[in-house]
Subunit: 134 residues, 2 copies
DNA sequence: CTGAATCCCTGCCGATACTG
DNA sequence: CAGTATCGGCAGGGATTCAG
């Protein structure tokens, strides 16, 4: 039958979530994509993979990222148990962000994402141009 | 060195794209996420990982997916060189979709996405409720 | 310094209807 | 059968402003 595709690594074979017929929050793939969702998210994670960062550190590392979106991303990543927020009392106020253990475990995921496109020497085709108003 | 994080497989160490300070189409991570972008996308890929499928096969496998979105996803995946479209002449018209070699190489990526959330026994925290007007 | 609140604009997604 | 055309609703994300 021509398709040995992927074999069946642990997790996939008879897990009911591998057979859902619509996008559902219980599917692990959806959960991870949800954690990574949003523009800038992976770049924030990349910074934190290098070690602890303060709010200002992140702003400086990603200058084009607005306060609102940075806050949103950090809040989202905190809710997803990817980052840990630690407020320091005193003045000036400082907040330190670090990856949780789960956050560190995103490294292989990002690596996989990197590798797929990196091994691809064939670039994507140009977009279809039906009407596309830029 | 505090950051062996992921080791340094080919691609990451001194690649300039690993240091971009804003989301850019040249970053391999962005490219892959772009290929996977959109609701239903990963489910369509999952179906095709099992082998060739026709348009109708996909509709039946994912009943809640509308024609428009299915067409959109397939077109998008074709542009991303993930799927190959093969029209069969004659009547009734049949179109067969298969994964390209690059498409098959998404299997480890999806596996990584699956594994991350699958190994996570700690569920995400409930959303912050400040005022949220339903 | 570290964020949260507001406003606006754009792009996605779903439903429906129509064509080769 | 295999799509495309069109429309409407809604959520994402950027700029700016305000607060602890």
């Amino acid at each position: 039958m021509t398709h040995q595709t992927v074999g069946h690594p642990p997790g996939l074979p008879d897990d009911p979530r591998a057979h859902v017929t619509e996008p559902t929050p219980s599917c692990p793939v959806e959960i991870t994509l949800e954690a990574l969702r949003g523009r800038w998210t992976t770049l924030v994670i990349r910074e934190l993979l290098q070690g602890e960062r303060t709010y200002t550190d992140l702003r400086q590392a990603l200058p084009a990222l607005s306060d609102k979106v940075l806050s949103d991303r950090l809040a989202h990543l905190a809710r997803s148990n990817v980052v840990h927020r630690e407020r320091h009392p005193g003045w000036p106020p400082r907040t330190h962000y670090t990856l949780t253990p789960q956050g560190h475990r995103l490294a292989p995921v990002l690596q996989a994402l990197w590798d797929w496109a990196s091994d691809n020497h064939q670039p994507p085709n140009p977009p279809h141009r039906t009407d596309q108003r830029t």
